[in-house]
Symmetry: C2
Subunit: 194 residues, 2 copies
């Protein structure tokens, strides 16, 4: 398969880490979204949403949306256990990530890292919601090592992608020790440097 992505994007790293963990071979093409490379006619023909990551499979079919791609690649593996209710709990975290976490935690980082804006440019609502999402995770990890069950799943991969770089968006992980412990566990399981 062929992954079109951006190594600075948590959404794209989710797909890379999943493929790496599962030993799935892929070709990677780096896309610069700020130069419009995800909005060319060729790219839009592949993914009308004009977003990375996008995966082009060898049979010519394409798939967008990081969490949908992870879910597809991980089916039948330990990263997405077969039990339907366990999958539903994982799905719950995946949808919450896209709705409550990513728009705020990644949104603030996008302004600061990609657009080079100051922390003060982050809207108050984005800051409040991002902190609330991080607080929910901290509360969860006060009583559990992983998001679902007793090992790494695609729910952890989805949530750790932007949580581990939340400080780049001006969020403070210092007072969130359980969250930092989980990030370390994820980085070890993923085989990536802290």
């Amino acid at each position: 398969m062929h992954i079109f992505g951006d190594h600075g994007s948590g959404n794209c790293l989710k797909v890379k880490w999943t493929a790496d963990l599962l030993g799935l071979p892929y070709r990677w093409t780096e896309i610069d979204i700020l130069k419009g490379e995800s909005r060319t006619p060729d790219f839009l023909a592949m993914n009308p949403a004009g977003q990375v990551p996008t995966v082009l499979f060898d049979d010519g079919r394409a798939l967008g949306e990081s969490n949908a791609i992870m879910r597809y690649l991980a089916r039948g593996s330990r990263l997405l256990p077969d039990d339907p209710f366990v999958q539903a709990k994982i799905d719950g975290w995946l949808f919450w990530e896209q709705n409550a976490h990513e728009p705020n935690v990644a949104g603030a980082r996008f302004r600061m890292v990609y657009l080079h804006q100051p922390a003060s440019s982050v809207p108050e609502a984005m800051r409040v919601r991002g902190d609330a999402a991080l607080d929910r995770l901290e509360a969860h990890f006060a009583g559990a090592d992983w998001l679902v069950g007793d090992g790494l799943t695609i729910a952890d991969i989805a949530l750790v992608a932007y949580t581990r770089v939340a400080h780049e968006g001006g969020f403070d992980l210092g007072p969130r020790p359980a969250l930092r412990g989980w990030i370390t566990r994820c980085e070890k399981a993923l085989g990536i440097a802290a």
Copy 2:
């Protein structure tokens, strides 16, 4: 099962419509989020996110996140065909709904309908992104009757929930005839009044 929801919320109606279509019996408890009924200790013990819809199953297990609940209820039915790639395409729309559509299209409606704020209170970024999401749907339905395949799936249920009431958030469906046609098809398939 026991659904805790709000009949004015598209996210909650998604679960109701799915259960109704599949003939799944349920008890419904109306929750007033503005009165804090989704943030009581009892509710938070069931769903720490403090959100509706939340479903409590007869075995005592609970599930949040509208799209995760729909996906769980619809497994094995025509609303979520078995083919893994078809499911991945449906998942793509479900995640896009939670990330690009709901925060903006439902977000604007929440301000106007729930908080009784004027259309002018809707932030420009929310308006622009909501219009972009509706434009993407219009472009899709210019060439297809349904989001995935040749019949209603949970992808259509997820997207139609807030699209059919987008005007209540100040969005104009007038210049989007393909979108209006799809809404009518969904309402007919769901057996709900226009």
